[in-house]
């Protein structure tokens, strides 16, 4: 019964997200809005994390399988891709790889720089603070 209760909360927020998506004038998907709403509910203790954790974690950890039909739907576009498929494929591979590399490098660079600054500022007070944090981020 506990798992049904957990499913209920997740379904409810999925539905709420879809409803909000219909009401607001921007093209934001219901799934993303549902995620924001559930996050707010968890963050402000409207719902406790244990009330959704088991089922929710199971869903996210096995998320890949849910995308199979969306991927298979690619076959309906083979006709549209026609003669330009090779150019399109190249553009997609280049731009996706470049985007992932660029964002990763920028985020890591800024994080390291601000950590160094912080380390300088807190050097006198607590020099061991960073060891603790590094260990946590691997979890």
């Amino acid at each position: 019964m506990d798992k049904i209760k957990q499913l209920f909360w997740i379904f409810l927020f999925s539905f709420l997200g879809e409803i909000v998506s219909l009401v607001i004038p921007f093209a934001v998907p219901g799934s993303v809005l549902g995620m924001i709403l559930l996050f707010l509910a968890l963050h402000f203790n409207v719902i406790k994390i244990e009330q959704v954790e088991t089922v929710g974690t199971w869903l996210t950890d096995n998320m890949a399988i849910f995308f199979i039909p969306a991927g298979v739907a690619l076959m309906t576009n083979f006709g549209l891709l026609g003669s330009i498929w090779l150019q399109l494929l190249l553009v997609m591979i280049i731009s996706t790889a470049a985007m992932i590399a660029f964002v990763g490098i920028v985020v890591q660079f800024i994080m390291k720089r601000s950590e160094k600054k912080e380390a300088k500022n807190t050097k006198q007070s607590s020099p061991s603070q960073f060891q603790v944090k590094e260990g946590m981020s691997n979890g």
Partner: protein, 234 residues
Amino acid sequence: MVDHIVANPFFGIVLSVSLYLIGAALHKRWRIALFTPLVFAIIVIILLLLVAQIPFETYDEGGQFISLWITPATVALAIKLEKNFSHLKKNVTAILAGIGLGVLFHTVLIILLSIVFQFNEQLAATLLPKSVTTAIAIGVSESLGGIVSLTVAVVVFTGVIGTIVGPPIFKLFKINDPVAQGIAMGSGSHAMGTTKAIEMGDVQGAMSGLAILLTGIAVVIIAPFGLMVIQALF
């Protein structure tokens, strides 16, 4: 007779789940990108349907029940986000700057590549929203005058590419921070990239889920300016 069997919803469901499991088993033995369960299942199912001349719509009688779970799974990412909120709070500047600059960079890159490959205005508009989650991409493509059905295909393919190229890119450029990895996966290849990020770790998964949202917002804001550049150039 055969038509009736394949039209049963369980045909698509059993086909999808079984090939996902076969992919997982193969991937355990040989860790190559082709055997990533999702990629393997998509490729084999497309080939099977084409060979057996079964239309996608027939497969989707069952497939739709699998797709339905994308929404609750995305909603449930909120749990990872809440558990890893400290990472977001601490690195908010790095995350926002990375995604904002990343979307700008991606927009410029798509325009340049469209010029190199001599795409027209419509095709460039179709490609601009390719790194965001499908529902947002459809809205953006439509408002820019792109080909919506092609945008959907491009978004899905981008997701597949992201799950394949992500890990080797992190190795190549020594991007080893879990927050940076997660943000990069989510902003470059949306929810499909997030599935790979979740495999890498909890922090990566949470940050990737967050990046889907932030990248979506950034693209909605930046894309119209991209269109203005496209209209001026093409």
